[in-house]
Amino acid sequence: MRISRRALLLASGLAALPLRAATAPRVVVLGGAIAEIVAALGAEAEMVGRDSTSTYPASLLSLPDVGYVRALSTEGVLSLAPDLILAEPDAGPPPVVEVLKAAGAKFVTIPGAPDAEGVLAKIAATAAALGRESEGALLADQVSADLAEARARAAEVTKPVRVLFVLSLQGGAVRAGGQGSSAEGIITLAGGVNAATGFTGFKPMTDEAVLAANPEVLLVMDREGELSITHEMIGAHPALGQTEAARTGRIIAMDGLLLLGFGPRTGQAALALNKALYGSGQ
């Protein structure tokens, strides 16, 4: 069922190509999740620029980068001669956004919280701005199906696993995803329980609190180089090394944008995490 839907999506995108070529708008995207949606709607060819958080699909990396989404340069964005600017609500600073709005290009703010409903809102707003409502409806159906499947799997969980998301281990300090963070959002969607309580956002956690939380699974981002968190680092860490997760070797590494981006792949991310937590059969 899903394959056919995706094929349909692709086909409709291809069919629309020659028609749009003549009047294709020049689109600048400010926000990683929106860029993913634009690409999933088949409008990647219309993109002429992106912010530094728009890194998926990897083909976007070849587009000009206008910098971090909250430290934009008015002239930098205008130099790409956009007809349409799709921005997340955080885009800024405000004076830059004001001038961009006055400069002639259509500036559309795409709403959407980092949760399941937020993803669907983002898809609807992005599709409307691009005039691709039918593709948007197909994508929304597909994402809803993924999310519904993830929810169904999560509902089957009888004994939820305590998961601690570790963002970084700079200088040995555990920076974990607390309450209300996007990490907690995806852990919940996958049928797990956030082991970190008592603080919000991504904050350093004391070693003793890590020991007290005693997570059964450690979730980290799959990164290269100095920022990566390896099994050796976790094993050697005074607190993380003593947790049940480290003793049983249950350390899951997943792509950061897939996991925390709350873009169109959120359902897939939740399913993948669910599978990693509970195995394919319960």
Binding site: G67, L72, L78
Partner: protein, 324 residues
């Protein structure tokens, strides 16, 4: 040599003007500037020139000039070549204000600006009261209290930073490196009201500051009203630096080094050092901003990085060429 000196300032100003208005990530080049006079620009080019580049140019000149003049005043007042507005608490106070503004108001730029400005003023007002002794401002006391207050304000800032979320932390780190990116006509108007008067009036303190370099007692016997001089210098610094930091964030290096550049080239007479520092400080900030917006175009670098990158080699070269 004299001819070169006479030509230096007009040439510098011309460079600053052409670079400030004629460079950026859009195609509006110096050559196209001539078209602006004849009204031959497209609608978008007009926005780029009048709404983006012109406010940036003026804001850069005023912020840089204000910071450099503040540096001269502080170095003269403390008779210490390393003094800067941080010593009387303006910049740490403004940083605390900005952190509070970012935590409270988030995206609201005006909240951050107002909080930074009053943070700077609050710190100065507190310090000058502490330093008052029998109707006199005791400079040694001012310095010591300034060090203590900076540490305290730094600690409170740090405490608040631990409460910030990721977005706020990134806002803070960008703020602390400064930017002219949000320059608008309103900001330029604020700078004209607060910084320009200081740049224009500071040279009137020159004779008093020259006398002060011989010591407070000597200046007093030469007929200068030392207490009034000190208070005016502090007030001017608080106004110019507080406003510069509120409008453009933390731009380092200009306040400490530009006055030295001028002194190394032309000697220590404040009648020369004050106006020239105002001009050179502005020129340095504008040229650094040109690099900030072109090096990584269409993205932008924080300007605080570039003032030091551009200024340090120039400063070291002058220092090395100076006869021992």
């Amino acid at each position: 040599m004299t001819a070169a000196r006479c030509l230096f300032l007009p040439l510098l100003m011309l460079t600053v003007l052409v670079a400030g208005l004629g460079t950026g990530s859009t195609g509006l080049s110096p050559l196209r500037l001539a078209e602006a006079v004849h009204g031959g620009l497209t609608a978008q080019e007009r926005i780029v020139l009048w709404d983006i580049r012109l406010p940036r140019l003026f804001l850069g000149l005023l912020v840089g000039g204000g910071l450099a003049v503040s540096g001269v005043l502080m170095q003269a007042l403390f008779r210490n070549p390393l003094a800067d507005p941080g010593v009387i608490g303006v910049s740490p106070g403004a940083a605390l204000g900005a952190v509070i503004g970012i935590l409270l108001g988030g995206a609201g730029q005006w909240v951050v600006m107002v909080a930074a400005f009053f943070g700077g003023w609050g710190a100065v007002a507190l310090l000058t009261r502490i330093a008052q002794r029998g109707g006199q401002t005791d400079i040694a006391r001012l310095l010591l209290a300034g060090v203590a207050l900076s540490a305290l304000v730094g600690a409170i800032t740090g405490l608040l930073i631990t409460m910030a979320n990721d977005t706020q932390l990134r806002d803070l780190s960008y703020w602390s490196m400064g930017s002219l990116g949000g320059a608008t006509r309103q900001k330029v108007a604020l700078a004209v009201l607060t910084i320009l008067p200081v740049m224009l009036l500071a040279p009137r303190l020159a004779a008093g500051l020259n006398a002060l370099s011989l010591g407070e007692t000597a200046a007093f016997h030469m007929g200068h009203r030392v207490e009034r001089l000190k208070q005016t210098a502090i007030l001017m610094t608080a106004l110019a630096t507080g406003s510069a930091v509120a409008l453009a964030g933390g731009i380092g290096f200009v306040g400490v080094v530009v006055p030295h550049l001028v002194r190394l080239a032309l000697g220590p007479d404040h009648r020369v050092v004050l106006p020239l520092s105002a001009i050179l400080g502005g020129a340095l900030v504008v040229l650094a901003d040109v690099l900030a917006r072109t090096l990584t175009a269409p993205a932008e670098l924080p300007i605080g990085i570039l003032t030091a990158l551009v200024g340090t080699p120039v400063f070291l070269q002058i220092l090395l060429r100076r006869p021992a």
